[in-house]
């Protein structure tokens, strides 16, 4: 028993750690400071009482034109006289500045001073109660020490904690494993989502394209990903892969979103964006709060839009004001998408950068989608007409193409 105790922890008598003399001295010191604070408190309370008396005096002063008083003349003499102009008072503001006030205004000033004093009194009371608690603690410690209480200490060790700490250490120590892990996680999530989509039987995505994409991600965007990991809200300008672009904006969800985005981007390639069926999987995702078919189609556009919004947020913080811009900029936006769709997935970088430029102004759609998709953006839902607008334009563009 004793051996185990020695191995795992230590048992020290409290009296050895806190000598009774020392605790007594501590108690005395705290008691002294409490006494100091108490005298200060009584001084403050005197001020408060003086202030209250003065308030009542000043309030009564203008009741009459003059009051018979003894006018002080120096420190030791008085003249019989009277107060005149009883509604004109000179109040010291501090630093030798006086202001002429009426009795009512003076009362207001004095009330404010009284509030300040009350606050100080309360603060002082709180301090005193804190100190008293401290003194009580010291006293109880002294009593326990004299009773021969023993303190048992044992280092806290837990396997899971150790694991997590080592995991953290390794992940933070070297960028590469972290990156790999991150990438693997994103990929796993992507695969999962693709499986879901396939299960839904609604998409005709080529796995080959996916693979292309996957290969490109680590190759071209490792640095960016690392950056993203380090400062989570870093600028998205250099984001090459969509996964990276979304890793900037939040937790586990983002990989999900990036997957969504990816699928959405790929869809233009497949030229199947506009079929409602192709978006069935996205309807199964938690983001799809849209009631109708049109809004599901809209979700195909959302990834772009969301991305644009994130750019906006990061770069300019001007999400709100440029609501009317999409009318002009909408076409640009969709052309960029068209570029995307005409190019191949291997040009993801170009897509995003061009998209970013095109999107800087076009916000309406973004806000809408943010409101529905990102609960962090607490903007009120915009009118549904505007949300359907970009879709229709997109559709038109798509059709023209």
């Amino acid at each position: 028993m004793a051996a185990a105790a020695r191995k795992k922890g230590t048992a020290t008598p409290l009296g050895a750690v806190f000598s009774p003399e020392e605790t007594r001295r501590a108690v005395a010191r705290v008691a002294e400071s409490v006494a100091d604070r108490r005298s200060e408190l009584s001084r403050l309370q005197g001020f408060v009482a003086d202030n209250a008396a003065l308030v009542s005096l000043v309030q009564r002063l203008p009741d009459e034109l003059s009051h018979e008083i003894m006018v002080p003349f120096g420190g030791a003499a008085f003249f019989p006289g009277r107060l005149i102009h009883t509604n004109e008072l000179l109040v010291l503001l501090g630093e030798g500045y006086y202001v002429e006030r009426s009795a009512k205004q003076t009362t207001e000033i004095l009330h404010r001073r009284g509030m300040e004093l009350e606050g100080q009194v309360e603060a002082m009371k709180a301090t005193i109660s804190d100190l008293e608690a401290e003194a009580k603690f010291f006293e109880s410690t002294a009593a326990e020490a004299s009773e021969g209480l023993v303190e048992i200490r044992e280092e806290y060790e837990e396997d899971t904690e150790m694991n997590s700490s080592t995991y953290e250490a390794s992940s933070s120590a070297s960028g590469m494993p972290n990156e790999d892990m991150e990438h693997a996680r994103i990929m796993a999530r992507l695969d999962e989502l693709e499986m879901k989509e396939k299960d839904a039987g609604s998409t005709s995505e080529e796995d080959g394209e996916d693979d292309e994409d996957d290969e490109e991600d680590p190759g071209s965007s490792e640095e960016d990903e690392e950056e993203e990991n380090i400062h989570s809200d870093g600028d998205d300008h250099h984001n090459v892969s969509l996964g990276a672009s979304f890793s900037g904006s939040g937790g586990n969800n983002q990989s999900h979103r990036s997957a969504q985005l990816k699928s959405a981007l790929k869809k233009p390639v497949g030229r199947e964006i506009l079929t409602g069926a192709s978006f069935a999987p996205s309807a199964s995702t938690p983001h799809s709060v849209f009631p109708g078919q049109a809004s599901i189609i809209n979700s195909g556009v959302q990834p772009h839009i969301r991305k644009a919004v994130s750019f906006q947020d990061d770069d300019r913080h001007t999400v709100g004001p440029s609501k009317s811009l999409p009318l002009q900029q909408g076409p640009k936006h969709s052309t960029s998408i068209l570029e995307v769709s005409s190019d191949n997935t291997s040009h993801d970088r170009k897509i995003i950068s061009s998209g970013q430029k095109a999107f800087t102004g076009s916000i309406i759609e973004h806000e809408d989608n943010i409101a529905t998709l990102q609960s962090s953006k607490s903007d009120a839902l915009q009118n549904p007409a505007s949300s359907s607008r970009p879709v229709s334009r997109f559709k038109m563009q798509k059709g023209g193409r």
Binding site: L54, I69, A76, F79, G81, L89
Partner: protein
């Protein structure tokens, strides 16, 4: 040998006693006396001011005047004195006596003389306390057999 040790201990105790006397008795006494004398100085100053003010009134022939009265917390109100020929002077113990200017000046001169005497007394007291402190310190020095400064 034992005798010497005992003697040293006795001497040590004496030194301690002397030091305590200086720290716990003489020094607080000194502080107290100085504070008292400062109070008297204050009083002397107020009466000096009063005398000067009354003399000013006399010289200028002021019979009525206006002043600002401190109501507390540095709030001032205007006051008017219709007749300044009669003045109420604090004669101590919370009593104020109505004087004419001449009477007031006479009283103030008497009062000032008394205050000056009080100040002298306090000054002497302070000097004697200082002397005692010096004496005890010298005694301690002799007990410790340190060389004179």
């Amino acid at each position: 040998m034992a005798m010497a040790a005992a003697e040293a201990r006795v001497r040590q105790e004496k030194v301690k006693k002397f030091e305590e006397f200086v720290d716990r008795r003489l020094k607080p006494d000194l502080v107290n006396a100085i504070a008292q004398r400062d109070k008297v100085f204050q009083k002397q100053k107020t009466f000096l001011d009063l005398k000067r003010n009354i003399e000013n009134l006399e010289k200028n022939g002021v019979t009525s005047m206006r002043s600002m009265v401190n109501l507390g917390s540095e709030v001032y109100a205007q006051a008017e004195v219709p007749d300044t020929r009669h003045i109420f002077v604090d004669v101590g113990l919370g009593f104020h006596v109505e004087f004419t200017w001449q009477e007031a000046l006479q009283f103030i001169s008497v009062r000032e003389a008394r205050l000056a005497r009080q100040i002298d007394e306090y000054t002497h007291l302070i000097a004697s306390i200082k002397a005692q402190i010096k004496l005890v310190c010298e005694g301690i020095r002799e007990l410790l057999e340190l060389p004179a400064e």
